[in-house]
């Protein structure tokens, strides 16, 4: 079971929901912080980090002895990462998307693979909860390859909770694609609703069952609730705008540990997700 916690708008409470659900469920889960541009789940889970490794993405290295400047590599590159001017070949590593096309088309076998550092992946644990996060190298523009590497480290035997980045672009898709359920954390404000609509649109394209957590549910307006109803999106949990919760968060602590009544609510949230994920997949199998 893979649950991706996403939102559209940033700052709605993805990390709060992801970390508290992980802590409520305990040993059988793993938490993957895929918000690699600003990972922060570790601040709340407080895992013991046991290992950190560098991650690279493959980029071309051209053997100028063999190269005939035929331009097949620069012609196939959609990203202008290779330029051939006269007899000179230039590679722009930061533009390369690691598709490998240049290596395939080179008739002289003059292109070999080297690497560009994407960032690091750290592994750790807390009370039996497995923890992995990615941290994008400062200056690196492409986060999806790193997000995919973090996800590749997932343990299929565990319930995987993914803390996704905000937005609706490639990094979010990389953090949602292939998940069994998308948990959208939103807030009842016009900004929250605007970005939620965009994010739900992306989830619909991916065809993954989806449900909502409405955070700070007693502020703003009621439009998000009307939207959820009209779209058939189940609201699986509401979290009030409560000073105690805000204080727990601001001290980097877990709601389920400081306010034990919330532990059962997060376990219940998972039970609802489990039921929706399995029943929806059952329904789609019937359609086939």
């Amino acid at each position: 079971m893979i649950i991706s916690v996403a939102s559209g708008k940033g700052g709605t409470g993805k990390t709060t929901v992801a970390t508290n659900m992980a802590l409520a469920l305990g040993e059988k889960v793993e938490l993957l912080d895929c918000d690699v541009e600003e990972p922060n789940a570790h601040l709340f889970l407080k895992p013991q980090i046991t290992r950190t490794e560098k991650v690279e993405t493959p980029i071309p290295l051209i053997d100028l002895e063999k190269c005939t400047a035929c331009r097949k590599c620069s012609d196939i590159c959609r990203f202008n990462a290779i330029a051939v001017v006269g007899k000179k070949v230039l590679v722009f590593p930061e533009l390369c998307h690691s598709c490998g096309g240049c290596m395939v088309v080179c008739p002289e076998k003059a292109i070999v693979e080297t690497g560009r550092e994407l960032g690091t992946i750290s592994y750790g644990h807390r009370n039996g909860i497995r923890f992995i996060n990615g941290r994008l190298r400062v200056g690196e523009a492409m986060s999806p390859p790193l997000i995919r590497k973090v996800r590749a480290a997932a343990d299929p035997e565990r319930v995987t909770i993914i803390d996704a980045p905000p937005g609706t672009s490639c990094p979010v898709i990389a953090a949602m694609n292939g998940a069994d359920f998308i948990l959208m954390v939103t807030e009842p404000t016009p900004f929250g609703l605007h970005d939620l609509r965009l994010a739900v649109g992306a989830v619909r394209v991916l065809g993954i069952p989806c449900g909502l957590v409405v955070n700070r549910s007693d502020i703003g307006d009621q439009k998000v609730f009307a939207y959820a109803e009209s779209e058939g999106l189940p609201i699986l949990m509401t979290i009030p705008f409560d000073r105690r919760i805000a204080e727990i968060y601001s001290r980097g602590k877990a709601i389920v540990e400081e306010m034990p009544e919330w532990k059962e609510r997060f376990v219940d949230l998972y039970r609802k997700i489990e039921a929706l994920a399995t029943s929806r997949s059952g329904a789609s199998q019937c359609v086939k």
Partner: protein, 119 residues
């Protein structure tokens, strides 16, 4: 010899387009005869990334030895430099004004990009 000038239009009277990689047109001009060819750069205007690199390759393929433009970014400069093309940046006015300035020797060749990368 041929020189390349970034242009908002297809004529020598057109205004210089200050951008290099995403210029609307690039005019390849013979400064002596004023014979010219207007290259449609629209593919690079809408490129996702690397427009300067691609435009530099195009200018090199046309055999231009000098580029007159407003702004030139680091990857474009690197590509132009590899192609042996001299760059004059901070050009404005019409294409004709730029060509005249070049003919009268009133241009200074750049030694580096004058615009940051667009990340």
């Amino acid at each position: 010899m041929k020189i390349a000038v970034t242009s908002a239009g297809t004529q020598l009277e057109s205004e210089v387009d200050p951008r290099f990689g995403r210029a609307r047109y690039i005019l390849i001009v013979d400064p002596e005869t004023l014979a010219f060819e207007a290259l449609d750069n629209s593919a690079n205007v809408s490129a996702f990334q690397g427009s300067g690199i691609s435009a530099a390759t195009m200018v090199s393929d046309k055999g231009a030895e000098v580029l007159l433009t407003g702004y030139c970014g680091p990857k474009a400069y690197l590509t132009l430099d590899a192609a042996g093309i001299k760059v004059v940046s901070d050009i404005s006015g019409t294409v004709m004004d730029a060509v005249n300035a070049f003919k009268n020797g009133k241009v200074t060749y750049a030694t580096e990009a004058n615009k940051d990368s667009h990340w």
